[in-house]
Symmetry: C2
Subunit: 333 residues, 2 copies
């Protein structure tokens, strides 16, 4: 392969090869990236949201997405979860020497498509290269800026007994897909749920500004970890109905084969919300009208006692769902 | 070593161990890091600057600093170079499994000190852990937000024939220090120049709002690479006086021993500026009044022809200084 077919240390030098990389790989997609060290923007007198996330998913390409689209969706969704309208992203790459340039181009193109679809602009970037064996193909950091409209106040602390818990679609798709794909497990029909949720969240919060107490995306640590945070923040108990939790048959089967509990497996295109009891069905119906959240379900209820997370199983029993301990699935995002 | 003495995959899980890491390592220093996915801030109706940089320096501790202070200085300086007052930073870590926790604590404490000194707040963060051999100890991404005061307009395109070129202190300290430190070269008296430049740049731009055409920090690729960017942007020639360029004797000697040209070696606490000819001496004297820029020197002049970068050597000849090609020093930032 020629000099520009694979990533060399030289591509991170700040010299000619770096310039070529910018011109050939990044600028065709990220037209907003300026020559200056920082991007400038004028915003009106509103609250801003600012977030950061590094993505080290392995493998970098998987059914339903890749590290590039995931890096956009992850940060866009983090902004959406605090009620912000995502506007601008940064993109910083740590590349391993020897990475095929074609892989990088594919990832960058995927980021650009994801950003366009989510309605955000990637306005600053950075690239570093590390020697073979000191990184792993591609790591991406995306930081994001968004505007929070007046009146938005989403806080898990606001959750109170009686509130309902909804999830916007089937759980665990992303986590199980990554694992199966990394380990070549031969499980069929799996696909990541990675997608941007900002458009639907914007509509949701416009329609139900007062009824929604808290929003969160169940990424690392899955549904159980988000609900534990809710319980902790509001000092309440949450009771889930196992049969109400949407989960695809192939995900359920795959989790059982591997001995993994889908309650702890990551989603990358779902959100969990807590809302006032009277609004739950209306919110569910509203969300089911959007393709991203067609399979929204009411999955549980908030109680004052006992505190903590519990699952009413399909067999009629109730079991506590403990906080996640250990790392069942490294590098899923 | 016990479970929390070294970084385990578990620390990146989003579960209990991640929580412990937050509580024990990050929150004591970064009190602004919220529990929510994104940080919210209210800013007035001004221009914002937003920048990102990943740091992969090897070794992570070196004379004059470490990867933590460097990650703060680098992003703070990137904001200062566009005339912005740095306000907020994000900090995202990619940690290698097996990293001693003590090293991480030291780096985080160093970041916190650097941020305090620079007057910026680290308001959001992220931590990922990759398996042994898939990363290298610590990588840090810092993204930054700053406000650009009214009337600031720094653009290399504004440089015109007659303008003078100044550098704010001795060059090449950082690059040579990192190399010597990584390779155990036994060169003495070397120390990185890594420091935040925002306070002095703010004073500088307040005092000389119209006279300064362009500012840039000569990091990767060194002084020569920044000046090539100036030449390219303004379509001019820049002539440097070799004897005017400040360089410490030990840096000069070390570069000669290693066959490296200090014009291409990184600084992390210097800036280069282009200004109107009549203001050069006054700006030099002004900068020499600050500890960070005590050794500021006028090092060259802008001409209309020939275009490109040239060095008048101490022997009286003139040689072209070509753009950087290849990677003399990987992982210096």
């Amino acid at each position: 392969m020629g000099i520009d077919e694979i990533i060399l240390l030289e591509h991170g030098s700040g010299g000619k090869a770096s310039q070529r990389l910018l011109e050939e790989v990044f600028w065709p997609h990220f037209r907003e990236v300026p020559m200056l060290d920082a991007a400038m923007l004028t915003l009106s007198r509103e609250r801003l949201a600012f977030t950061t996330d590094s993505f080290v998913v392995d493998p970098i390409f998987f059914p339903g997405g890749d590290i590039g689209s995931l890096a956009v969706h992850g940060t866009v969704n983090d902004l959406a979860m605090v009620g912000a309208r995502p506007l601008y992203l940064s993109a910083a790459f740590i590349l391993e020497e020897g990475l095929p340039l074609a892989d990088l181009k594919q990832v960058v193109a995927s980021m650009a498509r994801a950003a366009l679809k989510a309605g955000v602009k990637i306005i600053c970037g950075d690239t570093k290269v590390v020697p073979r064996g000191k990184g792993d193909k591609i790591f991406i950091n995306t930081s994001g800026l968004g505007l929070i409209p007046e009146g938005i106040k989403l806080l898990p602390e606001n959750i109170s007994p009686g509130d309902r818990i909804l999830v916007s679609g089937p759980i665990a798709d992303h986590g199980l897909t990554i694992l199966a794909s990394r380990e070549n497990l031969g499980l069929e029909g799996l696909e990541s749920d990675s997608q941007a949720l900002n458009h639907v969240v914007f509509e949701l919060l416009s329609q139900f500004p007062a009824e929604i107490k808290a929003l969160r995306d169940p990424t690392r640590g899955g549904l159980a970890s988000v609900l534990h945070e809710f319980c902790e923040a509001a000092q309440v108990g949450i009771f889930l109905e196992e049969e109400a939790i949407p989960i695809r048959p192939q995900v359920k089967a795959g989790s059982e084969i591997l001995g993994l509990d889908p309650l702890y497996l990551a989603c990358e295109g779902r959100f969990v919300l807590a809302c006032e009891p009277g609004a739950a069905e209306e919110i569910k119906a509203f969300l089911q009208g959007f393709p991203e959240t067609r399979e929204t379900a009411v999955i549980g209820e908030v109680l004052s006692e006992p505190k903590g997370l519990y699952l009413k199983t399909i067999y009629g029993g109730t079991r506590p769902v403990p906080p996640l301990s250990g790392e069942p699935l490294p590098r899923i995002c």
